[in-house]
Subunit: 313 residues, 4 copies
């Protein structure tokens, strides 16, 4: 177990959840991986998170996940903390990927509840406590009930925040009532960040005291999310409102083109493909948007004047 008191694997700020660029079934696109990492880090972000939901990790084979970790660590070269998603329905698989990530030199792991069997809160407490005890890397808890079918309850969070090797929380519930309560709990442990998942809530979450965001849009325009974070930390409401409008437009015009709930992922990867960062190949059971929606996204990127910024990167 890491002595987390002397080590800070994650700092407040913007930690983009990187998409996984694919060249085919079970095949990583190495060139695109390099392009993406340079593009994202070029935006001034505070960390990088691979193999999250945005990285389609659950849809990737174990072999491919390890390939992503190995190459991402090499490409990031310690410029920012590298977080690795290890969520799995199997404790053993989650732990083995964690050990692999540690061996490769990752900074921390991110883990959500196992997502097949809906676990009771007592079971979740035990699961995460045992996992944190075994993990050679600091652990960030990840709440995403829309995908795991289970909320990490406030009472469970209260207990887990006190586990030494658990060092941060990421909340993708979209439930600001819950997020506010988490902030209240986390305040008891100084230096314990609580990250916001949905980027549309980044501004207000930071205004109310949050720690930053895991913003998928930062794959495309990383600097925009860093700017919004800085504006909110500075309490510059006018700038926050102006940037918020831009964030909402990106959300509508990129993520809203395909149907929910997968429209976000399909739209994001399609946009990254249009601007030339990677292909729009998805991992099954998701499939790329068709030609018509791709053209719509290309047009929307023009309207948003996003083509230029991205290609200039």
């Amino acid at each position: 177990m890491t002595d987390s008191s002397s080590f800070t694997p994650v700092l407040p700020g913007i930690v983009p959840p990187m998409i996984t660029p694919l060249a085919g079934l079970d095949e990583l696109d190495h060139d695109a991986l390099q392009r993406l990492i340079e593009h994202i880090l070029g935006g001034g972000v505070h960390g990088l998170f691979v193999l999250g939901s945005t990285g389609e990790a659950p849809s990737l084979s174990g072999r491919l996940r390890r390939e992503v970790v190995e190459h991402s660590v090499k490409l990031v070269k310690g410029r920012v903390p590298l977080l690795v998603g290890v969520t799995d329905t199997s404790f053993t698989e989650a732990l083995e990927l964690t050990r692999f990530a540690a061996d490769q030199g990752a900074s921390a792991v991110v883990i959500a509840p196992p997502y097949y069997f809906p676990a009771h809160q007592d079971d979740l407490k035990r699961y995460f406590t045992e996992f944190a005890a075994e993990s050679p890397l600091p652990v960030i808890l990840y709440n995403i009930p829309s995908h795991t079918k289970v909320d990490i309850s406030l009472e469970t969070a209260e207990r887990l925040i006190e586990v030494p090797n658990i060092v941060a929380f990421k909340d993708s519930s979209g439930n600001m009532l819950f997020y506010n309560r988490l902030l209240e709990l986390a305040a008891r442990r100084p230096g314990f960040p609580v990250f916001m998942g949905p980027e549309e809530l980044l501004g207000e979450s930071v205004l109310i005291g949050g720690s930053g965001g895991v913003c998928g849009g930062a794959n495309l325009v990383p600097s925009l999310y860093v700017e919004q974070y800085d504006a909110a930390v500075a309490g510059d409401l006018q700038r926050v409102h102006r940037l918020q409008q831009r964030l909402l437009r990106i959300s509508s015009k990129i993520y809203g083109v395909g149907d929910a709930p997968s429209g976000y992922l399909k739209g994001l990867k399609c946009a990254l493909s249009v601007v030339g960062l990677c292909s729009d190949r998805m991992a099954e059971p998701l499939y790329s948007l068709g030609d018509k929606k791709r053209q719509q996204i290309a047009q929307n990127l023009d309207d948003l004047e996003l083509t230029l910024e991205t290609s200039a990167t």
Copy 2:
């Protein structure tokens, strides 16, 4: 792809979803596996299904899953068709386990929708069609929306029932409106069974025209479920009602001791442990019932007069 017109991997009847007996973390209990298989087959069942939800498959490592397949095939020795659950969030992993199962000599595979990303119906159709085309074994579709967050819709089922290598359907939705519609659709393809998941609905589903059940309780008392199937096929309503009372009592007194939704699995494994078939070791993120509930289940087994029948096997 199998020529399913000349091969019937699954027949109507009772196909118990076997629990996975564990000796420790990531460790299969081989003695218990043998005992369980002999006990279940001794009840006159029509098939055996390993690595389903009752088998806690998603919680097992890939390695352990292959171990279960390998040894189950050897122990069953072709006495009944052996079905293998291969549901996975990764298409590649599901397919590799299918190939392994085929190599070992399994009869068919059972696959539910990938259970992390909620897939659209069009994506599901494509996913299962591609999977069936690649699978060296006949494919049984498995609907369990409580765990996968997505229903296989009637329209999707209508299309998939026509895919040659898809040979049966298992419905664990508990939604009899849906099940009745499935029966209506399946009637178009003679010899296409539609199995009922929840054992409490076995009797009436067969009375209304269904094909049998995947009854977890058949790990404990296999003959009881075979009797209920036979009674319903024969239209013996009085016998069905009498056996139904017994099935409901088992459900209340074994599955209802722990809290839903995992009380079924914990209670079943606990009861199997009490009667000496295997230990009650669960795979994380589920954990065994505590001593007090175990004593309650032991008492309930006495009340149900189940100890004797089981130990006699």
Copy 3:
């Protein structure tokens, strides 16, 4: 309070939930009311239920509800028991309508949980117990969680089944696991019927021991549901299967034309209008199906050969 031991307000069988025929906003169509009642009673049903969900009761003004009760009692003339839905979010309003129904000569009232505030089970127990104590008519409990947001739990049902003035249960949950448990509980009190809501489940519910159904389709073809009930009581599986196919076709071709969840009500009223029993005027917030869907339903009625039977009545 009624001495329910000496009085049987409801018997097993088919108790159609009558639609409310409207001539305009807040205006009852008296001619259609008479036609409908004669049509339904002509089918040999065992009771009539006005002001249920199918009767759009919650959408009607208090004044119009009383008008429906007054005229229905007069038209039924005691030929079958007349049940009146009194569900309301206000205890006082529910009780006043009950008293009015008693004064007019109705046989019993049907009441679901208040449907605005999601009540706790303890609150529900108290609410129904107090209501039953005040009600001058026997009380039938009605479970319809899709509309009330709350299930009457098994534990609550267990308690309420023992309240003297509560004489029957209607379950529209569509959840056969729950329905089976209700049957088990109700068996403790002889002569306590448990009616099935969704007509698609009528056959199997009676086969497994249920008491009959509150079938909306009986507004259109009352004799069909009576036949299915008789076939199931007789254990004539072949006839049940044949009639079940017809019930499912009516469900698909009439209720399935408009979008769920209101397609059932809109389709039913449209079909009744096509065959000339009443207009298709709905009560706000529901509105009639458009011309195209009306033509579809007219065509489907032809396909189902329902026009003749109905007009002959």
Copy 4:
């Protein structure tokens, strides 16, 4: 229809949803009504809202609702705009209460979707458009899907915001993603407020551009919510954070004592009773908290130092 261009029935700010003080079943407590109104208006609020969810309106008889309107108008005497909740499952009843409220001199009505039948969005658009056309008072739309089972969708809101007699929106979804989108839409019609329901989100909603809140806690401590509104409008983040801590403590220690989902209402009315503003009599199907929880709330009010402020009013 009001010419809403020359009339502003609602201004941004704090508009408390008043509880309904009861003296018994179907009996208004007139003394408590007067005390409450003076207490709330003494806190500097910007409007008063009677017969909302917090006012338990759906649980009150039609007669009692009119009594509340009549007396509230007389007691408020035009000091602030008086809003009246008229949500009903019957269009006719909603409209009649609206006409009554207009005759008495209320400022505007608040209406949520009818809450029994889950309506389609097209039906909702038509319903609200027709209602707004008939209403003699300006109309405020109210989104509360937890109680009505239906979201007013963004597309529906987009259309309704353009209806002349619809003048504001209240969102109690607790979904900040939705609220942010509403703000974006409402920006197209200057002077169209979008109020926040859950008071725990008041601060951040105003920081991100919202218009104020309908805060139940303002029955107890009206000035606190006015302060938070002012702090957020001024962009004083430190003050917002400090007041937010107090709001969250009130939420935990008053609303969190009883079980969700009715714990909020029961806790609030209990606290108002402890400080002497009214009795804790609830309208069925809700019932007062028991003695033990009442003592807990009394203790918590002491901890929060709320007794004094309230009794001093």
